[in-house]
């Protein structure tokens, strides 16, 4: 059985600067379970990219293996995608990014994919400061292999089969902060108002951007014993801050003196406006971000929002001093030193 999306276009659909409607940013029809949080993430990505007016073909969709890693099928049909192997998306994304640093790398992974088999690769791509958006669709279970506990499951919770998580969980946001990620956020897939601006900010951010997206698995983890069920998250989520994304061209109204706002200017000139719910919340402090996450967790709450951003971050290619021309576009005359040079190398070896 194959699914096909209707190609019917509403005439009245709003167009972005490129003259494209959000339908131009859609992907194939989803085959995930109806109501899966991962589909909400796909929808948010479609909106974010449309609103940012990015040409879809300048995006590369990367993923590992899992339900979440299938999601890139379901957005951005005109972008290349690569569903790699379980847990190893970070290295493949690194290589792709080496080949062409000017494309946008949107990567999707699961909590099993990133926090278990791929923990090593996750840690190292953060360290490497690769310019990419790394999203984890975090449902606290393995979806694709039918509901085993994940390393992100809170200690003491049970999966659908009644098996209890006996060990401490891995908090990927804390890990990302500790390893030096320059943009760290946590969102709830069901809160599009929060997710879309954060996605937009992450895409604009020139450096490693990590978003842990709590994304309930309606099939294997939507039961009362779970801390990743839709209802549980709905009830326990607290927003640390509300983030607005202000594109470059919009006038930024002055909020000077208003202690409730924080305007953060990104590399490309766009602005992240953070409205603080918690007066003390400071998105530029790596250390307090970690403490805040832990304190909320102790209270049984999930702190969401933009947790940390360093707008001055340097990415791998800045550090490597890579040529501005993408490496995959350098021609033979630049790459190959030619016969004469080889003759002199030969001579040096006699």
């Amino acid at each position: 059985m194959s699914f096909a999306k209707s190609t019917f276009h509403h005439k009245g659909l709003p167009k972005n600067e490129l003259g494209l409607t959000y339908r131009d940013y859609e992907g194939a029809l989803s085959t995930l379970c109806a109501g899966c949080g991962h589909d909400s993430i796909s929808a948010a990505i479609v909106h974010a990219c449309h609103e940012l007016s990015i040409e879809p073909h300048t995006i590369v969709k990367m993923s590992g293996i899992g339900c979440s890693s299938k999601a890139p099928n379901y957005f951005l049909n005109n972008a290349h995608g690569f569903n790699t192997v379980h847990g190893r998306m970070p290295s493949v994304t690194t290589g792709a990014n080496m080949a062409n640093q000017h494309l946008t790398y949107l990567a999707m992974s699961g909590d099993g994919d990133s926090a278990s088999i791929g923990l090593g690769q996750f840690a190292h791509v953060v360290r490497r400061q690769l310019n990419m958006v790394y999203m984890v669709a975090n449902n606290g279970v393995y979806g694709l292999t039918k509901g085993q506990l994940a390393a992100t499951s809170d200690k003491g919770v049970k999966n659908k089969a009644g098996e209890m998580s006996l060990f401490n969980d891995i908090d990927l946001c804390c890990m990302a902060l500790q390893l030096g990620a320059s943009f760290v956020a946590r969102c709830f897939s069901g809160d599009k108002r929060q997710l879309v601006p954060i996605l937009k900010a992450a895409i604009s951010h020139q450096g490693f951007a990590f978003i842990d997206i709590i994304s309930p698995c309606v099939t294997f983890n939507n039961h009362p014993d779970s801390t990743r069920s839709y209802d549980y998250v709905q009830q326990h989520v607290t927003a640390g801050a509300i983030t607005d994304y202000v594109p470059i061209k919009e006038e930024i109204t002055s909020v000077a003196g208003d202690g409730e706002y924080d305007d953060i200017c990104l590399h490309d000139g766009s602005v992240l406006r953070i409205k603080k719910l918690d007066q003390n919340y400071d998105a530029s402090n790596r250390l307090t971000a970690m403490i805040d996450i832990e304190e909320h967790k102790k209270r049984g709450e999930i702190l969401t929002g933009l947790l940390y951003v360093d707008p001055t971050a340097r990415s791998f290619h800045d550090i490597n001093e890579t040529s501005q021309t993408p490496l995959n576009q350098l021609q033979q005359d630049v790459l190959c030193p030619g016969e004469r040079v080889l003759a002199s190398i030969n001579k040096s070896l006699r």
Partner: protein, 607 residues
């Protein structure tokens, strides 16, 4: 004692301690002989250890160009490691020479052998002449080099020039080294009758050959082949491939105007990531490679399967060492053949290339990038420690500026525009090789989803049996098409007809000319074929079928190449015999001769 002069045909072995700086003096010794026009080969025999352990450096000098490791004992041992004295003494042939540091007397048990002892109080000389402890250590090596020059009749000027070249920019070091060299030289002249009966005499047998190790040549091949993305993880003996690549890139690949790098090298967290990075680069249209050895190959297997099935070009340089497991990390072998040919689960096969010299390391490495792009699949260079880390006399590396990179079937924006529709895995040309597009090429055409799961020819996920089977058959067709792009086997037939043949590949080649010569002396004529690539071309089966007895020579216990030949070419096992050597050292000609002769004798007894 009876002596007769041996000219340009003997083996000198240096016994040193790791970390004492002997490598450069030893290399200069070999290079000086080359510069006197005499063929020479050198092998490092070193432990898997950083400092303090014994190392050996074996130099074979042979004007007939028999440069493989010679079986048996050495003619001269330069013994600079007291801990291995007894081993080293027993390694000297009767009437051979044992040069040692006589600052401390040798024990009586050692002096009882039927060999000549050449004692030079090297440590004493150094203590007297130099104040700095590091100099005292380093100049020991230069002193025995000077002494050897006198003892073997190596032209003093040749070594002096080598020293001047080595310290090109440091005038002070040149004079100090030459002073040490003269100390040794003079001591030998004053105390021994120089030259000995072993002598180097100037010849003109080197022509334009160079001396270089295979890893450096692979690295240069990668540069000439246009590689820009490297993911790697350190492992002996492959590390120096990436070291050399990085060094040459700094010289040849930094844009002089902007100071920006035309390459990116990522030292990964492990081999999984190393090949993942290379695959990401290949997926996105860059020429990418990784270098590794056996344990790394094991870790890379899953990814190799992905690259095979998703059809992504990537080059892997496997510098083989002795396995299994961590095996003997600093010893050589050719034992990853089956692991590489079929790396990963499912029906997976990979292109293998077998260089036999640094010259070919260069050529095949550069070619590998064209092959990978053309065939959209991994290409594995099967080098080994002996080839990779030892200096070899080899034909100069060759590049033709007329050669244009073959990027294979990549569709440009314009080509996509003119296409009605694009399907990533459609076999448009019937050769099993499809057209691909690179991310970012076209706003509305050509995007597709790369995956390791089954799909139809338009790259859409499909578990339909017919789609899967069609895809697997096409991959088989592609593997068959690959044969016409791969380097052909090299066939050398004897003048006289022969029903005995040798098949060999990679570093086993070094022993072949000598083996053929020795066999001929025993009345056995052989025909030869050197395999250069897998999958095997039709010539391989024809050659085997044309001979009654075919010996496959290889450096592993289980005769892996023979297995591969049998299974891939559907051959009966009877006339495919095997000669193997798997002690971690490279195969000597004598082992081949013994293998052939023993079998031929057995046959005679039977008949």
């Amino acid at each position: 004692m009876m002596t007769h002069t041996k000219i340009n045909d003997f083996v000198v072995k240096f016994a040193n301690t790791n970390g004492t700086g002997s490598a450069s003096a030893n290399t200069m010794f070999a290079k000086a002989i080359m510069r006197m026009g005499v063929p020479v080969s050198a092998k490092n025999i070193f432990p898997s250890n950083i400092q303090g352990a014994p190392t050996w450096y074996e130099v074979r000098i042979n004007e007939r160009d028999f440069l493989a490791r010679r079986a048996g004992k050495c003619d001269i041992v330069v013994a600079m490691n007291a801990q291995t004295y007894s081993l080293d003494v027993s390694d000297v042939i009767d009437n051979g020479y044992f040069l040692y540091d006589s600052s401390k007397p040798l024990s009586d048990t050692l002096t009882s052998q039927n060999i000549h002892y050449l004692g030079i109080p090297i440590a004493d000389i150094c203590r007297k002449e130099f104040n700095n402890p590091r100099q005292r250590q380093l100049f020991k090596n230069v002193i025995y080099l000077g002494a050897l020059a006198a003892l073997l009749g190596i032209e003093f000027n040749v070594i002096k020039t080598l020293i001047s070249e080595q310290f090109k920019t440091k005038e002070k070091l040149i004079s100090a080294n030459i002073y040490a060299l003269e100390l040794g030289h003079q001591y030998a002249i004053n105390h021994f009758s120089c030259p000995l009966d072993y002598q180097i005499q100037r010849r003109d047998l080197i022509n334009n050959r160079i001396m270089v190790n295979g890893n450096t040549a692979c690295a240069l091949g990668a540069i000439y082949g246009g590689a820009t993305v490297v993911g790697w993880y350190p492992i002996t003996p492959s590390t120096s491939v990436v070291d050399a690549f990085a060094n040459y890139c700094q010289r040849l690949r930094v844009d002089p105007a902007s100071g920006k790098k035309n390459y990116a090298i990522v030292q990964a967290e492990d081999e999984l990531a190393a090949i993942g990075i290379a695959i990401g680069g290949g997926f996105n249209g860059a020429r990418a490679f990784t270098a590794t050895s056996g344990p790394g190959i094991s870790l890379m297997a899953e990814f190799l399967g992905l690259a095979y099935f998703a059809e992504i070009p990537v080059v892997l340089m496997n510098i083989q060492r002795a396995g299994p497991s961590t095996g003997m990390p600093t010893r050589t072998q050719q034992s990853d053949i089956l692991a590489c040919a079929y790396a990963s689960h499912g029906d997976t096969k990979h292109i293998l290339l077998f260089p036999d010299s640094p010259h070919e390391c260069f050529e095949l490495s550069a070619m590998a990038f064209d092959l990978a792009d053309r065939l959209q699949t991994p290409v594995i260079i099967m080098s080994d420690l002996d080839l990779g880390m030892n200096d070899h006399l080899t034909a100069p590396m060759q590049w033709n500026d007329k050669h244009k990179y073959d990027h294979g079937k990549i569709l440009s924006m314009r080509e996509l525009d003119s296409l009605l529709s694009f399907g990533r895995y459609r076999d448009v040309d019937g050769d099993g090789i499809c057209y691909r597009t690179i991310a970012g090429t076209h706003p509305t055409k050509g995007a597709f989803f790369t995956r390791g799961t089954s799909r139809n020819q338009d790259a859409v996920y499909s578990e339909k049996s017919s789609d899967y089977v069609a895809n697997m058959q096409r991959l088989e067709r592609k593997f068959d098409s690959a044969k016409s792009y791969l380097p052909k086997p090299q066939v050398i037939s004897n003048d006289t007809p022969s029903d005995v043949a040798l098949i060999y590949f990679g570093t086993t080649s070094q022993a072949i000319t000598e083996a053929v010569y020795l066999l001929k002396a025993q009345g056995i004529n052989v025909n030869l074929m050197r395999i250069r690539a897998f999958p095997f071309q039709s010539q391989v089966a024809t050659f085997i079928n044309n001979h009654a007895k075919v010996f496959v020579i290889e450096q592993n216990r289980d005769a892996q190449m023979r297995t591969l030949l049998m299974s891939e070419l559907n051959l009966a096992p009877d006339n495919l015999l095997s000669i193997v050597n798997y002690d971690g050292l490279s195969i000597p000609a004598q082992a081949i001769v013994d293998g052939v002769v023993t079998h031929c004798n057995q046959q005679q007894e039977v008949s």
